[in-house]
Every structure is written in structure tokens, then in C-alpha cells.
């Protein structure tokens, strides 16, 4: 191989490298992302069969903890989903879904929500009375099942994997004010 040929070959390599440098110099990699709508989503897993007595079931989100019967108020209830299909083994939900509360789907306010749960009712009609609600599953964080977990939604962040297990045979402790 002639040395002249070798150097011309190398010149091509250098030219190609410089070309790559030129093209990528226009690209600045990661850029700030436009603010995302805040909200949440997750999956409810029903690990035991549904009792026949259950007439309807919902996902509920309370902003403040339910420590007293008086904490169960419509002002504290920030999310009340539409009915979960009866008999479902798994149900995916999102704050962008149509819901009773809030009435219009859209961004869900960022912040901390102290009580996220799956509730069931046995009344014939939808009731907002505490005595008609029975909690069948609660959202926990960090594996701590001794107390309800807090759902944290950072600003402009859509939080996923808010997952809840429902065991109808082994319901969680009930908030005060029930039957």
C-alpha cells in the first residue's frame, strides 16, 4: 500500500469525524420539558372474589387524613371515580378519567393526599354518607401497611403506579365514623 493512499484514506476519516462534530454541535441534548399536567394513575388488583353484597365500588382520594368522623367531608374528598366494573380482577384508573369528583377531567392539583382507597357500597343508590361506605383497599407507601400511605404529586408531574390491592376477605382498618 502506498503511503500516499494511506494518508488520503486517513483524511477521509478525519473529514468524516469533523462532519459528525459539525452536525452534533447543533444539537444540545436534553432540554427543559414543557410543564406536564399533574395527576395520577395506577392499578387496583382484586385478589379475592367480589362478595355478592357489593353494589358498587369507587376509588376515592382525600387530601387530609381521616382521623375523626368530621374529616369525612365533601371538601376533603378530592377525587371520586366512576364505578369500578363489578367482578373485575384488575382495574386501571387515572385522574384524567371521567369522575364524579371532579366533574371535569383535567389536571389534578399537585400536593400531598393523605388517604387513597377503594371503597364499596351496598346501598341501592350512590350515597355520600359515611355510614354507607366501607373501605376494601388502601394505598400504602414504602411497604408500610400499618398506616395509609400519602400520595405525593409533585408540581407538573403525572404520578404513576399508585397501585392498590383489594382483599375482600381481609379489609383494612376502617376510618372513624362508619357502622
Amino acid at each position: 500500500m502506498q503511503l500516499k493512499n494511506d494518508t488520503s484514506y486517513i483524511n477521509y476519516i478525519i473529514a468524516a469525524l469533523l462532519l459528525i462534530l459539525f452536525f452534533y454541535s447543533c444539537d444540545h441534548g436534553i432540554e427543559p420539558r414543557a410543564p406536564e399536567s399533574s395527576g395520577f394513575s395506577g392499578t387496583i388488583s382484586f385478589i379475592t372474589p367480589w362478595p355478592d353484597s357489593v353494589k358498587r365500588s369507587f376509588l376515592v382520594v382525600f387530601e387530609n387524613p381521616l382521623l375523626e368522623p368530621t374529616d369525612f367531608t365533601i371538601e376533603n374528598l378530592k377525587f371520586l371515580s366512576r364505578e369500578i366494573p363489578l367482578g373485575a380482577q384488575s382495574h386501571e384508573f387515572s385522574s384524567l378519567d371521567s369522575a364524579y369528583i371532579p366533574p371535569d377531567p383535567g389536571p389534578f392539583s399537585s400536593g400531598s393526599y393523605a388517604y387513597v382507597a377503594v371503597v364499596q357500597q351496598s346501598t341501592e343508590n350512590l350515597s355520600l354518607a359515611r355510614k354507607d361506605w366501607f373501605v376494601s383497599g388502601v394505598y400504602y407507601t414504602n411497604g408500610d401497611t400499618t398506616k395509609p400511605g400519602t400520595m405525593v404529586i409533585p408540581e407538573s408531574t403525572f404520578v404513576k403506579n399508585i397501585n392498590i390491592k383489594v382483599d375482600f376477605n381481609n379489609p383494612p382498618p376502617q376510618p372513624p365514623g362508619g357502622n
Binding site: M1, D6, I10, D27, G29, P32, R33, E155, T157
Partner: protein, 731 residues
């Protein structure tokens, strides 16, 4: 065991007694070969490898071109001088009768050769061209030339090696495990350098300016090094002690540029960084030392990512006789730093989440080592190494995380060249670690290993390397486990310029105390212990060819495959949502690696290119392993003339396919899914003031010159564009 290690200093006294006893039996007379190597212009050459062929004696020249090979028995030798870019010279029939000799040579420059010497692959000096495995060498001069104050900065440019923040991955061996465990073993002068609690590599503790070179062995090396060497070995070799009093002052000052996007400019200023090293070396009769002190300060381009570091280093060597010596190493490290874990979000990419503002951490680490060498009856080289490594860190949380670990190691190794064709290397090593920690509890662990490797040199010319190692390790109350690690390697020189190599090796890694016992919650991430964790294993196969068709061109190709069993990876336990380490992955890593080194203009202009393709899969889930890029490309263009040098380095890794998505989904790392391919370009300018008769070099560095924004780990923007000025003064 505990009693023995609690009395480590008593043990050290015993070692001295043992040494003295051995001294009494070491009566063989030995000699040395010294000399100077210069180029055609009589300028001293640094880093020239000088070896006595068919022995394990060898050395490299210092910055003044001087070399010294000690403890050579009587005999006739062939001395070989080689360096990249210079013609190889062999001096045959050098006869040592009754006195040491001096041998000076002039090396004629050519574009390139591939003759380099490593001591890491077989735990004794071997030519790179004789090895059955892929290897790389990083020379110490780049740390000052490119203002690298941290060894990991240099490792980032080694072909086939990828860093994810401070965790190293050799050919895809590792992802990111939050500072826990390592699938590459780091050693300093052959002393393993991992912490007793997390088993992690603390790169920043290594005194970069004290390094002569860094050797990297790719692929499983557990047959010699045991646990942690499952993916490879990185050995940092410190500088030889100077024969004449020598003082080095190395300093730099630089600033980070403003971030590319104005909304990221949290400080409103260009953040500065600086460093200064003072180093002195001297030899007094049979005693010599290297002593250095380094101070590094960085105000950080990220908020709460500032640091001040102080690194102390002492290396002393005492020659009892020409054939025996005792080396003492001390490496101390103190750091006070912000504790930036991840960004607030992509619009606030250089500031931490509000709840983590003001998080800080203080670290104190100490390594002490003793290395005793003795050539016994001209045939056996005894190597005894002991070390003590203490780590302490504490953060400023309301309930502070605080941890102390103590790691004690010892190794006895024997090399023998029974004849010109066979070199045997065998040894036994043990370690004990004790931890007191709010994160890991108070567990202890111990391990012991036995190894034997034989290198057989046939005339055809074929070199066969066969080895076997057995390790037993036990973590506190967990069941102990053993591992057998065999290897076989072949090196065949088809022609002088065409070398084939092949190796099959096994590796294993015992879980670290932190992988088994961590229990903590920080910044929204909760980690739980796993008492059922067990060792991981792998099998690595490699075929390689090295071809030098012309003196100015070297090509290397390697095909490799690693099978991992019971691979330990962090993950989320679906039953409770907690992070834990478990043996969940059956993984396969395949790929190939090519490198080209081209001397475009002899001694003036060179270009090196390397490309690695990695296919790293979790074959149970049929998805890519986390934090492994599929394509890795590095290139460098270097020009040197008239005391002037210019270097351009370019690095590309493709966008990683898998990351810790759970941390993104749960909103812990907001916008953590943002990641891009990595493109970085650095430029270096250097000038040697030799023309003005000043023993000083000046350097200007611009890093990430296109201010490209990328992450290696989710939510952690890597260094933005920076400029620095440095100097290297030798007195």
C-alpha cells in the same frame, strides 16, 4: 478471626519478624541494570518499557528517561526496549557476572508499535502482546495534561468501558446500583481498593497526579483476583521513587460556563473549580519515598454539588538487600460536599428537589498497605501484601446516616520461572470486614481464596495460561458459600505482526454487606435488606486478533460473550414497592470491540478510534439490561510538535434503553425518563516551556465544548462546558 484482626498492629509486628526470618535465608547475590533511554534528539523518553525477555523482570522509564531493574540474578539476558511510536530494540547477550551494569539506548521514532508491558493480567510483568485477554493502558501524564483530578475521568475514555456516574462497566458488566458493589476490581499498586461495607470503588481517593499508569484487564479475572473481578480489573500503578530529589507542583483553575438554557442558571455566575498538588520524591541510600498532598475545590455547576477534598499520599520503599524490599503505602482522603442525588425536574435540572436542599455529607477514608518482595534463590519471587482500609461517612439528615467500615486484607503470593517456558503464580489471600452503620447494621464478613496460574511459553510461538482459584466467603449470619473459578487463555503469534488470542474465564462476586443488609430511606427511595441473597457467577469467552500491517497502523478486534447467573441487581419488590438487591437476572452480554491506532505523521500526529457493540439482555424478561448503551465510540486526535501539543477527544454512547422507570413512575425523579445519546468533545492545548529552560508545562482545556446536555444516571445532568488552565512544574 476477630481477635486476629483486632490486633492488626500486633500482626504487623509479626510480619516484620517473618520478614527478618526470611532475610536470613536470602543469601543469593543479585544485581541491577540501570540506564537512560532517549530519542534521536537525545530528549529523555518517559514510559519506555524495559524487560528482560523470558523472565518477569522489567521496568519503565521515568520522566527523565531513567530506568532501573533490580534483584537480577547472575546470568545472560536479552533486554528489550519498547514504546508506542518508537522502534523496538533488543540488546542480546547482556551478561551479568559480578557487578551491576548500565545500559543506555537511543530509540528511533516510528509511527506506532504495540509493545507495552502490564503487570495486572498475571500479577507479574508481561508484554501486552503476550496476553490472552484484552487490555488497555492509560498513562499518568494525561491526568495533568487534561486536568483530570479524578481517575474516573480518564477511565471514561477507555475503549469498551462506560461510566454511569461513579460506577464502572467493562463491556457491559455493570449498570447502576446506587454505590453498592462493583463488577470491576480496582487496585492501587496491586492492593485491592474496595470499601468494606458497600464494596464500591472510591475513584476520587486515588491520587491522580501520583499515577504512572493505569492498567485495565477486560473480562472475568476471578481466577486470579477473586470476587469483584467478575467484569475485569483496573490497577492503578503509582510512580517510581526518583533517584534524585524531585518536587512536583501541579495546579489548575477553571470555570464552568453558563448552562445552555437560561432557566437552568440557578446561580447567575460561572462556577469555579481549582486544584493544587505538591509532591516530593527522594531516595536516601536504601530508603526512598514519594509524598504528596492534594487539595481540590469545586463550587459545582449544580446546586448542592460543591466539594472540598483533601488527598494525602505516602509511598516509602526500603531495600533490605538488592533482592528484597518493603513498600509502605498510605492514602488518606477527606471530603466535605453537597449531596446532590437528582434534579428537581427538567426545568430545574441543576438544582435538587426542595426537600433535599442543603443536604451534605462528610467522608473520611484511610488506606494503609505493606508490600514485601523478596527474590529467593534466584527462582522464587515472594510477594506479601497486607492492607487496612477504613471508611467513615455521615450526612446531615435529621436522623443522620452514619457508617464506619474496617477492611483488613492479606495476601501471600509466589512467582517462579522454573525454566524459560513455565512461569507459575500461586497464592493465598484473605479478608475480614467489620461494619458499624445506621444503614447496614453491624455485620461482619470474611473471605479466603487460593489460586494457582501457570503460563506456558511454547516455541511455536504459543503461550498457554491455565489457572484455578477457590474462594470461600461468609457474610455475618448468612450461610457461607464457595466458588471455583477456572480459566484458560491462549496467545498465538501467527506472524510477528498478527497475534491471535482467546480466553475462557469464570468469575464470581459475593454480595456485599450493603447488598444484604441495607435498610434506609432517603429522598423518597426506601431500600430493604435481603438476607437470602447469594453470590453471582459468570462465564466469559473472548476471541481477539491484533494486526499491525504497517508500522503506523494497529488494528484490534475482539468478540466476547458473558453469561451471568444469579446476577445481583437492584429492583423493586412488587409485594411492597421497596428497593432491594436480589438474584433475579439471568443475563447474557455479547458484543465486539474494534480499535484502530494510526500514526499519520511519525511522532507528530496520531489518531485512535474504537467502537464497541454491546448486546446486554436480561434473557428471562427479554429486555435490555439497565444503563447499558448498545454503541460506544471513542476517538482521539493528537498532534505534538515544537513543544506544542493539541488533542481532540470525542466520546459517543448511544441512548440507554432501560433505566429505573419505577423512580420516574412514582414521581420520585421527575422527568427522569429524559435521556439522550452522549456526545462530548474535549480539546486540549499544551506547551512545554523547555525552550525557555523552564521545567514546566502549561495546559489549556475546554471540555464538552458544544455544551451538550446529557445524563448518565436519571436526573443527573453531566458536566456542562468548562474551561481550565493548568501547569505542571518539576523542580
Amino acid at each position: 478471626m476477630k481477635i486476629i484482626f483486632k490486633n492488626i498492629f500486633s500482626g504487623t509486628k509479626l510480619l516484620f519478624v517473618f520478614i527478618i526470618l526470611i532475610e536470613g535465608n536470602s543469601l543469593a547475590q543479585t544485581y541491577s541494570i540501570t540506564g537512560k533511554v532517549v530519542d534521536a534528539n537525545l530528549i529523555p523518553l518517559q514510559g519506555v518499557n524495559v524487560v528482560l525477555l523470558n523472565t518477569y523482570f522489567g521496568s519503565a522509564t521515568d520522566e527523565n528517561g531513567n530506568y532501573e531493574i533490580n534483584k537480577i540474578p547472575l546470568g545472560s539476558y536479552t533486554v528489550e526496549f519498547s514504546a508506542i511510536g518508537y522502534e523496538r530494540i533488543r540488546k542480546e547477550n547482556i551478561i551479568i557476572t559480578d557487578e551491576s551494569i548500565s545500559l543506555d539506548v537511543i530509540l528511533k521514532g516510528i509511527a506506532i508499535t504495540s509493545e507495552e508491558v502490564l503487570i495486572t493480567a498475571g500479577k507479574y510483568e508481561q508484554k501486552k502482546s503476550d496476553l490472552p485477554v484484552s487490555s488497555e493502558i492509560v498513562y499518568g501524564n494525561i491526568f495533568s495534561e487534561r486536568n483530570f483530578s479524578n481517575l474516573e475521568d480518564a477511565i471514561r475514555f477507555v475503549p469498551g468501558v462506560v461510566m454511569t456516574e461513579d460506577q464502572v462497566s467493562i463491556r457491559g458488566s455493570s449498570g447502576y446500583s446506587r454505590g453498592t458493589g462493583s463488577r470491576a476490581l480496582l487496585a492501587i499498586d496491586g492492593l485491592p481498593f474496595y470499601t468494606g461495607d458497600t464494596g464500591e470503588i472510591v475513584w476520587e481517593m486515588i491520587p491522580a497526579t501520583e499515577l504512572q499508569r493505569v492498567e485495565i484487564i477486560k473480562g472475568a479475572a476471578s481466577s486470579l483476583y477473586g470476587s469483584s473481578a467478575i467484569g475485569g480489573v483496573i490497577n492503578a500503578i503509582t510512580r517510581n521513587i526518583s533517584d534524585e530529589p524531585k518536587t512536583i507542583v501541579n495546579g489548575f483553575y477553571g470555570v464552568y460556563d453558563k448552562p445552555y438554557y437560561n432557566e437552568w442558571d440557578w446561580s447567575g455566575e460561572r462556577r469555579p473549580f481549582n486544584g493544587l498538588t505538591l509532591s516530593h520524591s527522594n531516595k536516601l541510600s536504601d530508603f526512598g519515598f514519594n509524598l504528596s498532598f492534594t487539595r481540590l475545590e469545586d463550587l459545582g455547576y449544580k446546586q448542592d454539588d460543591d466539594f472540598k477534598k483533601y488527598i494525602g499520599f505516602l509511598k516509602t520503599v526500603y531495600n533490605f538487600t538488592p533482592s528484597s524490599s518493603l513498600t509502605f503505602l498510605a492514602n488518606t482522603f477527606n471530603k466535605r460536599a453537597g449531596n446532590f442525588l437528582y434534579w428537581k425536574n427538567s426545568r430545574n435540572a441543576l438544582v435538587p428537589p426542595d426537600q433535599n436542599l442543603g443536604d451534605r455529607i462528610e467522608t473520611n477514608r484511610y488506606l494503609f498497605g505493606l508490600i514485601y518482595k523478596n527474590l529467593i534463590v534466584n527462582k522464587f519471587l515472594l510477594n506479601i501484601k497486607t492492607s487496612y482500609y477504613r471508611n467513615y461517612f455521615k450526612d446531615n439528615e435529621t436522623n443522620p446516616n452514619e457508617s464506619t467500615s474496617n477492611l483488613y486484607r492479606g495476601e501471600v503470593q509466589l512467582n517462579t520461572n522454573l525454566n524459560d517456558f513455565l512461569i507459575l503464580t500461586g497464592g493465598v489471600e484473605g479478608s475480614y470486614s467489620k461494619v458499624n452503620s445506621s444503614l447496614f447494621g453491624n455485620p461482619d464478613a470474611f473471605s479466603i481464596g487460593l489460586y494457582l496460574v501457570s503460563d506456558i511459553n511454547f516455541n511455536f510461538p504459543l503461550i498457554v495460561s491455565v489457572g484455578l482459584r477457590y474462594d470461600y466467603s461468609k457474610l455475618d449470619s448468612l450461610n457461607g458459600s464457595g466458588a471455583v473459578s477456572p480459566k484458560i487463555g491462549l496467545n498465538y503469534k501467527l506472524y510477528d505482526n498478527l497475534i491471535l488470542r482467546s480466553s475462557l474465564g469464570t468469575g464470581f462476586r459475593a454480595p456485599t454487606l450493603s447488598e444484604a443488609f441495607t435498610s434506609t430511606s432517603t429522598a423518597g427511595i426506601t431500600v430493604k435488606p435481603n438476607p437470602n441473597i447469594k453470590s453471582e457467577n459468570n462465564l466469559t469467552v473472548e476471541f481477539g486478533v491484533n494486526y499491525t500491517p504497517f508500522t503506523f497502523l494497529n488494528l484490534d478486534l475482539a468478540l466476547f460473550q458473558s453469561e451471568y447467573y444469579d446476577m445481583i441487581e437492584p429492583g423493586i419488590d412488587p409485594s411492597d414497592g421497596l428497593v432491594f438487591f436480589s438474584n433475579v437476572v439471568r443475563a447474557r452480554i455479547q458484543g465486539y470491540e474494534t480499535s484502530f491506532v494510526i500514526g499519520i505523521l511519525p511522532e507528530q500526529l496520531s489518531l485512535s478510534l474504537s467502537y464497541t457493540y454491546l448486546w446486554a439482555r436480561d434473557i428471562e424478561k427479554d429486555e435490555a439490561l439497565k444503563y447499558r448503551p448498545r454503541h460506544i465510540f471513542y476517538s482521539s486526535l493528537d498532534f505534538r510538535k515544537w513543544n506544542f501539543e493539541l488533542g481532540i477527544n470525542f466520546r459517543y454512547t448511544s441512548k440507554v434503553e432501560e433505566i429505573d422507570e419505577e423512580l420516574v413512575d412514582l414521581g420520585i425523579v421527575v422527568d427522569g425518563d429524559l435521556r439522550v445519546p452522549v456526545y462530548t468533545t474535549d480539546i486540549k492545548l499544551g506547551y512545554d516551556l523547555e525552550y525557555f529552560q523552564l521545567p514546566m508545562s502549561l495546559y489549556l482545556n475546554a471540555k464538552n465544548i458544544f455544551n451538550y446536555n446529557y445524563v448518565e444516571l436519571l436526573g443527573n445532568l453531566r458536566q456542562i462546558r468548562s474551561y481550565s488552565f493548568g501547569f505542571y512544574l518539576t523542580i
